[in-house]
Symmetry: C2
Subunit: 317 residues, 2 copies
Amino acid sequence: MAAAAERLEGRAVRTPLLESPALSARLGGRLLVKAEPLQRTGSFKFRGAFNALAQLDPAQRRAGVVAYSSGNHAQGVAAAAQLLDVPATIVMPADAPAIKVANTKGYGAEVVLYDRFGEDREAIGRRIAAERGAVLVPPFDDPRVIAGQGTTGIEIARQAEALGLRIDAVVIPCSGGGLAAGCALALATLAPEAALYSAEPAGLDDTRRSLEAGMRVANDPAARSICDALLAAMPGELTFAVGRRLIAGGLAVSDAEVLRAVAVAFAELKLVVEPSGAAALAAVLAGKLDAAGKTVAVIASGGNVDPEVFVSALGGD
Amino acid sequence: MAAAAERLEGRAVRTPLLESPALSARLGGRLLVKAEPLQRTGSFKFRGAFNALAQLDPAQRRAGVVAYSSGNHAQGVAAAAQLLDVPATIVMPADAPAIKVANTKGYGAEVVLYDRFGEDREAIGRRIAAERGAVLVPPFDDPRVIAGQGTTGIEIARQAEALGLRIDAVVIPCSGGGLAAGCALALATLAPEAALYSAEPAGLDDTRRSLEAGMRVANDPAARSICDALLAAMPGELTFAVGRRLIAGGLAVSDAEVLRAVAVAFAELKLVVEPSGAAALAAVLAGKLDAAGKTVAVIASGGNVDPEVFVSALGGD
């Protein structure tokens, strides 16, 4: 993972670890917020994408890359591909937030839309990759992607240390588990005393239930959430193998709790956080984890939210 | 000013210098955004307030401080007073944004409201100070306040240097001129090649007109703007004495240009910026300063905006 951090040096933003004294006081502890909306492309996904693409050989770079994504991995891969001069094709759901589709095209990628409820994005991605001889960049279940996302955890540990703080807990928004697994690996050595928790939408809390069951279990395909980036059907094989050893437990939050957290991030942190990106903050604000007397770090994982959704969050409960 | 930076070490946030590659590409240059909404209290004003209060002697600290402010200086003084255990009374306009009044009270200050169109806040502030033996902390025309605000400029110079960039221009939201004067003093030695510009609401562009006239001129008292923090009647004596030597010129922006900049900061920077705080960004986005081929730093000076105003900005033109 040190190699990933080196590859990202000067390419990814070393995002700040924010604190609102008012929020900390309200919780009776110290709340640190890793501000990945300020990352290149507006989410942590650039880290894993760049780390993966930077390791392609020249022939692979010429052939290009394919990725499927609800939006943030799409932007991460597209931006990394643009920086490295690699052609990119991204398979995105037709109902992805408009900002995510527009930005992905803005980074020069070709976007192929599909029906999230009727088509299999992995099959479409594999078919395009086969046709073009392109490399598929998985959204989470890939060692290079996991290592890239883990640089977020390295930074959290170093930034907390610089503040003279010992972290008691870290809460991480979780879909397929790439960010959680990467951070878990980083923090296992850099902050071994910290307890790690995944944060997911209620009803799509496959990681929480998988951790409890000790095996990977899937979500009900009928489950829905405003958290468009946290809809993976079940944990990845690799990410769960890491998570079951290193993650203490899972927290689940309602859409209403998530929207309230978006509004709190607006008012108290001056940070634009998308619903999915606010899941960990929501879990702490809603008291799913007792922060009293503790130092708790949450990752705000992204900020790519359409204005209408943001406005609805500010409109209150 | 080095002493101010030392006093603020560990108290003020060293806010990031953000860049959106998409925005830079659109402008054909490099646009760097100093993110003071992420500062303690949500604006740069904490810097000057803390630097002033930290220099009070023990008797003055016991007697307390008084300040008059449209809101951001209010919060800065209140938060600095709370940290230093100094009683604070803040005179605020009755029509200040609700978030600014609520936060000022939240930092433990006593708030006295006045009618901005009928009463003289300076007279009210002086009367309260006289009655209580308290020290008046001026919002801008004070060497300690100017030095504190100037630490923003020190950081911009150092952060640009770390990026390997030479700054061609710096644009600074301007009301009484404390931030502009402080940054001008800092940058005169740290980035002497940079041209400095004030950014003000059109019709309330007293600094621009004063720079052109070579003497302080006042605004029309009937002028109005959505920029509630940029309504000072004319430049300060001290701030203008600095500004006339070190500021290249003034830029003026309409309310519509400011609201558009708030929306751009939301979409491209994931940063919550209040209208006043977006004046410098608005000036560059609206082409009042040609950024093509240049490295331009703008200060986003604050993020204390009521949700309704922010929502109206996101609603588009």
